[in-house]
């Protein structure tokens, strides 16, 4: 299912956090949103999953205008791995993943065997089925992110939104998570920090700076050394990855190595 963002602006306390951003995320593709801290990546995602109402503009998921239909309907279309997960409680992994069934259930419905099967399958899919009865807050960062992906799967939505999903993960856990996301084949929009993750895993990229779109297109079109220097303020070079052969960014600060090069 296609996600279309049309001219979305967000103004908070007279500050324009997002200024007229357009984005089309094609069905079953991974669309990456990249940009420096504070460029509006999370804000854009929050407008899509109905956590923050845009000041102007519209978000469509399929034919649905997200902000003109109900919250519950949005929960049936988009699942989110957000960054705000509170750890000051003792929910078990099973309870956390079962929350994914929330939009599917009526006010007085109880979980059925079918719901429990969906939860069990999702936990197996992310290889966390053995940890089902551990307390979520006691898991490692990588395990927690996998559980949150399992919850998103339990929601059975066509669209998956990931807000910096690899934060705080070790390098193995980062790649494992992104491999899993690619395997799922959902319409995915992911805010990412690591430019090499963005080029390796995304079909399309949107580059934001200070709430505005700088470029949109394939990773090769969007990211080159000049643009990275302009937006992130670092020197960079694209070299072929020695193991995969894909284009790979190597970066250095604007000062680093200059004197050696000239001296």
């Amino acid at each position: 299912m296609r996600v279309r963002v049309d001219g979305v602006s967000v103004v908070l306390d007279d500050t324009t956090v997002l200024g007229g951003v357009d984005l089309v995320a094609e069905a079953s593709a991974i669309t990456g949103v990249v940009g420096p801290n504070g460029s509006g990546k999370s804000t854009l995602l929050r407008c899509v999953y109905r956590a923050l109402r845009p000041t102007t503009g519209a978000v469509h998921i399929g034919q649905d205008d997200v902000w003109r239909s109900s919250a519950r309907r949005a929960g049936l279309r988009t699942a989110v791995v957000a960054q705000d997960h509170d750890l000051d409680n003792d929910y078990s992994v099973h309870e956390i993943v079962t929350m994914g069934r929330t939009p599917h259930k009526g006010l007085l419905d109880r979980e059925t065997t079918a719901d429990r099967d969906i939860v069990d399958r999702a936990l197996e899919r992310v290889r966390m089925d053995r940890a089902a009865h551990r307390v979520f807050a006691t898991l490692s960062g990588g395990e927690r992110q996998r559980v949150l992906v399992a919850r998103a799967l339990t929601q059975e939505t066509p669209v998956l939104l990931l807000d910096e999903p690899t934060n705080h993960l070790d390098i193995g856990a980062q790649l494992e998570l992104l491999d899993l996301v690619r395997e799922l084949g959902l319409t995915t929009i992911a805010a990412l920090h690591d430019l090499n993750h963005a080029t390796a895993y995304c079909d399309r990229l949107l580059l934001l700076r200070a709430g505005r779109a700088v470029a949109e297109g394939t990773p090769a079109e969007v990211l080159d050394a000049d643009r990275v220097a302009e937006v992130f303020g670092v020197r960079s070079a694209v070299v072929p990855h020695p193991l995969t052969g894909r284009p790979h960014f190597v970066t250095a600060s604007m000062e680093d190595g200059r004197e050696t090069a000239t001296g």
């Binding site: 929960g75 988009t78 929330t102 939104l161």
Partner: protein
């Protein structure tokens, strides 16, 4: 039996849960009957049951008039008020802790009880409430609603409640209300002061059947509404963005929770005064036993809060006969050690 029920990390789960609920219902009935019997004149539990049964079936002919009056007119409403206040404060505590995702939140943090106290103290010391056609309970209710409106206006931005602003606005309004209340206390004569102190520390003494109407309606309505919101509140308790992603209308749920918890607190405080600590510890104790799922926390909090306050009220009447200790002192004195023990045990079971 699915394996999840056996191996859940919570102390009570699966089949244990209905057993716990039944045990609490039995405990409530037994402690209530016992509490009605104990007092300056002790009435055996058998006679208590006979009197209550007589009134419920409309057959009061064979009852001793004095026993009947003690049991039915004085002690039964008092015990019911204790039970309802315990339930109401516990439910309000669960709502507010989830609403602001802060374990220290309780019904007294949001200025609602400070507003109620101020209203009541104005009525007790100046007679202004009487002029406006309100008795002490009515003035307390008006005071709590006024502070709710102030807190709400200060903590919202474009109609959305902000958790941290809510806590800060609530604390500020509570301090303001307490300051004015303290000033009025200093101006009060000794007779008024005694009434004010008793009210501020909370009491279910002198309850009549008339006091129970609004509170029982508020508790029942909130409890029924909350049973339909357990799943949404689970989502809210792990994060606003997460809840929104799960299809929960976070802003609406927040506002409804604040209104429900405030009305419940106002209804309790207006008839029983400032009974502290119940709304803070009962929800925590319950979560340590059944886990954080609100669909379990609500019914267990409702029952455990009632049992707890009936027991505390019983102690207030018996520890220093014939004097009564204000109930607010004992909720803290009995609740805190119990809670600390549970906290240690609960954490050990989990980790």
């Amino acid at each position: 039996m699915r394996p999840t029920a056996r191996s859940s990390p919570h102390l009570v789960s699966g089949r244990g849960f209905p057993v716990l609920v039944v045990a609490l219902v039995v405990a409530l009935a037994v402690t209530a009957a016992f509490a009605v019997g104990v007092g300056t004149v002790d009435v055996p539990v058998g006679r208590v049951v006979a009197v209550v049964w007589g009134h419920l079936t409309g057959d009061t002919a064979g009852l001793d008039p004095l026993t009947d009056q003690i049991v039915w007119d004085f002690r039964t409403p008092r015990v019911l008020l204790a039970a309802l206040a315990g339930s109401g404060l516990s439910l309000a505590g669960v709502c507010l802790q989830t609403l602001v995702r802060n374990p220290l939140a309780d019904p007294y943090l949001f200025g609602v009880s400070a507003g109620a106290s101020l209203g009541a103290v104005i009525a007790l010391t100046s007679g202004v409430g009487l002029v406006a056609g309100l008795d002490v309970a009515g003035a307390a209710f008006a005071g709590s609603l006024t502070s709710l409106v102030v807190v709400f206006v200060m903590a919202q931005r474009g109609g959305r409640l902000i958790g941290s602003s809510l806590v800060l606005a609530g604390v500020a309004v509570a301090y303001l209300g307490t300051a004015v209340t303290s000033y009025l206390q200093l101006q009060a004569n000794p007779a008024e002061l005694r009434g004010v102190m008793f009210w501020l520390l909370g009491s279910v003494a002198g309850a009549s059947w008339d006091d129970l109407g609004v509170l029982s309606a508020a508790t029942a309505a909130t409890a029924i509404w909350l049973t339909t919101r357990g799943r949404s509140m689970n989502a809210l308790s792990v994060g606003d963005d997460t809840a929104a992603g799960l299809g929960v209308d976070v802003h609406r749920l927040r506002i409804l929770l604040l209104v429900a918890a405030s009305l419940l607190t106002a209804a309790v405080v207006s008839v029983a005064g400032g009974i502290g600590f119940v709304g803070l510890i009962v929800p925590h104790a319950v979560r340590l036993v059944v886990g954080p799922d609100h669909r379990r926390v609500f019914p267990v909090s409702l029952l455990a809060g009632a049992v707890f306050l009936v027991l505390v009220d019983l102690v207030t009447r018996t520890v220093d006969r014939p004097n009564e200790v204000p109930v607010g002192i004992l909720t803290a004195a009995l609740g805190a050690p119990f809670f600390l023990v549970l906290l240690r045990k609960g954490k050990r079971a989990l980790r």
